[in-house]
């Protein structure tokens, strides 16, 4: 089995769905002739034509709105945000129009809105964001956030096939950093709504997603080797809807929970997960639920600043060591 990068796995998923289903088409800025800012869609227009790989004006609201209209008519649009930071320009269209369409009007809107997210790449305040918390609060949307090449492929395919709107977040730090052997000749599909145990452990659970899955795994290795703490890592994979069963299962197994996310702290996903554990597994806790997150500031550009603001492997090691001793 040949190894592929996260980005190549995503490309494979998109390509296979375009081949499989002629209702699938793509629209976004510079995705056609240029092949996308990160080359995710390179070669697509040549293979599938300008009608199915559409270069659009710089108009995120129009991209999402037009995708919604096409989806109402039975199409399966995949809309690219060149950087996910620009999804805020389509916030109204996503939250007011798209997310409510099935509920208020019985209108199916099977669209995927995907784009590169995340920091650790010196991208500055507007090319590094993690927008999941802004949409977590909107009934009617699903949010997926793969951490592995396999899930990059499996979740894009599942998102395209889902009958409801899905925001697909792809961490640009992972694009070419991780490689994985994927099975050939076998359909790779990751079910939406299912977390994955990325590492088994018994003393403490780290619940996380995206790039910090890899930082948590690195921390877990160090904790095991240096301190004899056995760490379980739960990769959420889908943020909306959350996999409550997997969260509760890991709490019951280790009785201690550290939640890690790259997004800022206040109003972040960790608060919601904490509340759910409180409601569903309070009696199983042997310590406080603790959070390692970004600081509550816009993400700055200078390496020294970005490294300080974002959660690092060392932060996770320290917090987990503190919690293990609690």
């Amino acid at each position: 089995m040949p190894e592929v990068t996260f980005l190549e796995a995503l490309r494979q998923g998109l390509w296979e769905e375009m081949e499989r289903d002629e209702r699938v088409f793509m629209l976004g800025e510079d995705i056609g002739a240029y092949g996308g800012a990160f080359k995710v869609t390179e070669g697509f227009q040549k293979r599938f034509g300008e009608a199915r790989v559409i270069d659009t004006p710089i108009s995120e609201a129009a991209i999402v709105g037009a995708a919604a209209g096409a989806a109402h008519m039975g199409m399966r649009p995949v809309a690219e945000m060149q950087f996910i930071d620009f999804i805020s320009c389509a916030y109204d269209m996503l939250t007011n129009y798209v997310a409510t369409a099935r509920y208020r009007a019985g209108l199916a809107t099977p669209i995927v809105v995907r784009g590169p997210c995340g920091g650790y790449v010196r991208g500055g305040p507007f090319h590094s964001q993690n927008p999941e918390a802004a949409f977590l609060h909107t009934p009617g949307l699903k949010i997926v956030y793969p951490a592995t090449a396999r899930d990059a492929k499996g979740l894009i395919k599942a998102s395209i096939r889902d009958d409801d709107p899905v925001i697909y977040l792809e961490h640009k730090w992972l694009y070419r950093r991780i490689k994985e052997a994927l099975p050939e000749g076998e359909e790779v599909l990751t079910p939406i709504g299912q977390a994955r145990v990325a590492r088994e452990g018994k003393d403490l659970s780290i619940i996380t997603y995206g790039a910090t899955v890899w930082k948590a795994l690195e921390a877990a290795e160090q904790l095991t080797n240096n301190g004899g703490v056995s760490v379980e890592v739960l990769d959420l994979r889908t943020l909306l809807p959350l996999d409550d069963a997997a969260i509760v299962a890991t709490v019951k197994k280790t009785n201690k929970v550290l939640i890690v996310h790259e997004d800022t702290r206040t109003g972040g996903l960790a608060g919601e997960i904490t509340a759910r554990i409180n409601e569903q597994a309070f009696e199983w806790l042997d310590g406080p639920i603790v959070r390692v997150t970004a600081h509550d500031v816009p993400l700055p550009y200078a390496p020294t600043l970005e490294d300080f603001v974002l959660p690092q492997t060392d932060d996770i090691v320290k917090a987990a060591t503190w919690l293990a001793k609690y």
Binding site: F25, A51, I54, T56, P57, S59, E60, A61, A62, I63, V64, G65, A66, A67, A68, G69, A70, A71, H72, M73, G74, M75, P77, D92, M93, N96, Y97, T100, R102, Y103, R104, A105, G106, L107, A108, P139, G140, K142, D162, D163, D164, P241, E279
Partner: protein, 353 residues
């Protein structure tokens, strides 16, 4: 189409414009009267507190609504329009039923959105209308997507979307129109210059004189029409729709009209000059003008118009009787249908205590 036998047109009768025929003129009249009568019934129900939310009148704008919609191909899986709160007439033309409108306003369980949405915010994509959401301008990008699909599939279907003068200030309007223009979508925009965006007059909304001036910025043709001249709006829309159907892309039609009621029924309109309101009512009511045109040109007899009025009243009476005592939806029917999967949200734990 007419329910009534009509005498053959005499040699002295002026020709009917825009390739229309007498039965169509009468059918348009029926939709105009139905719009006005149905809204008057809604006012009565509003005053009896049976309309749950706000009531939005289209008084003075029935002409452009009915005439523009009438220029589309109607029937299942034909053209699609996206109406605003003041386009009740357009929805009726496309096949929305008075009983659906009444149920929707009264939040009835049996209404088209089962009590989830308000007023004319509902849709029937098969019949060809896609209800708006409250965020103005948003339907322009959505209709761009619908008509993009028409184009991709190579059919000859056309879309039409209404925008108020105020909505042309929104980003969604600009983005959607520009997108549709670039893609040469088969889309017709009706820009309704009705002089009031809630309480805001045009001079505080935009610096152009006519909405049609804005079209230059998108590289599309535009025309300004007397919005209270039913046949002029019909002819302009027919032309734009035919052009779109031939693959010539987006067309903008500005209709100059006047909103004669407040933003909604609660609004006392104190900001609208009384003499202006009186002048539009007296001299420029679209239904009065249309009737005058029909009768003076011998295209219709007053008696047959009166007969239509009577049958419309009967229809609205029957529709009201059919639903006014209907039940509201049960509370827990709020939970299903956010997603296809899972099919329903769970009731929260404290409801089980």
């Amino acid at each position: 189409m007419s329910l009534h036998p009509v005498p053959a047109t005499g040699p002295e009768t002026p020709a009917i414009p825009a390739e229309l025929e007498r039965p169509q003129l009468l059918e348009m009249y029926r939709y105009l009267r139905l719009t006005r009568t149905l809204e008057e019934r809604l006012v009565a129900l509003y005053r009896q507190s049976k309309v749950i939310g706000g009531l939005y009148r289209s008084l003075g704008q029935e002409g452009e609504s009915v005439a523009s919609a009438y220029a589309l191909e109607r029937g299942r899986h034909r053209d699609i329009l996206s109406p605003l709160i003041r386009n009740l007439g357009s929805m009726l033309v496309m096949g929305a039923k008075p009983v659906e409108i009444l149920r929707q306003y009264m939040a009835k369980a049996a209404g088209p959105t089962r009590g989830r949405e308000m007023n004319v915010h509902f849709n029937d994509l098969e019949l060809g209308f896609l209800g708006q959401i409250s965020h103005l301008g948003d339907m322009v990008p959505v209709m761009a997507g619908i008509t993009l699909t028409f184009k991709l599939r190579g059919g000859a279907r056309v879309g039409l979307v209404y925008v108020g003068d105020g909505a042309t200030s929104t980003g969604a309007f600009h983005e959607g129109l520009n997108f549709a223009a670039v893609q040469r979508c088969p889309l017709v925009l009706i820009g309704e210059y009705n002089h009031w965006a809630y309480s805001t007059p045009p001079q505080k909304q935009f610096a152009v004189h006519d909405l049609a001036d804005k079209a230059k910025g998108y590289g599309i043709p535009a025309v300004t029409v007397d919005g209270n001249d039913v046949l002029a709006v019909y002819a302009a829309t027919k032309h734009a729709v035919a052009r779109a159907r031939r693959g010539k892309g987006v067309h903008f039609i500005e209709v100059k009209t006047y909103r004669r009621k407040g933003h909604a029924e609660h609004d006392d309109q104190h900001y609208q000059p009384p003499e202006e309101l009186e002048r539009w009512a007296r001299e420029n009511d679209p239904v009065d003008r249309y009737v005058k045109q029909l009768v003076e040109n011998d295209w219709a007899e007053e008696a047959e118009l009166a007969e239509i009025d009577r049958s419309v009243r009967d229809e609205v009476d029957h529709a009201t009787d059919a639903c006014v005592n209907d039940a509201l939806p049960p509370g827990d029917s709020a939970l299903p249908g956010v997603f296809a999967n899972p099919p329903a949200a769970e009731p929260l734990w404290f409801r089980g205590l």
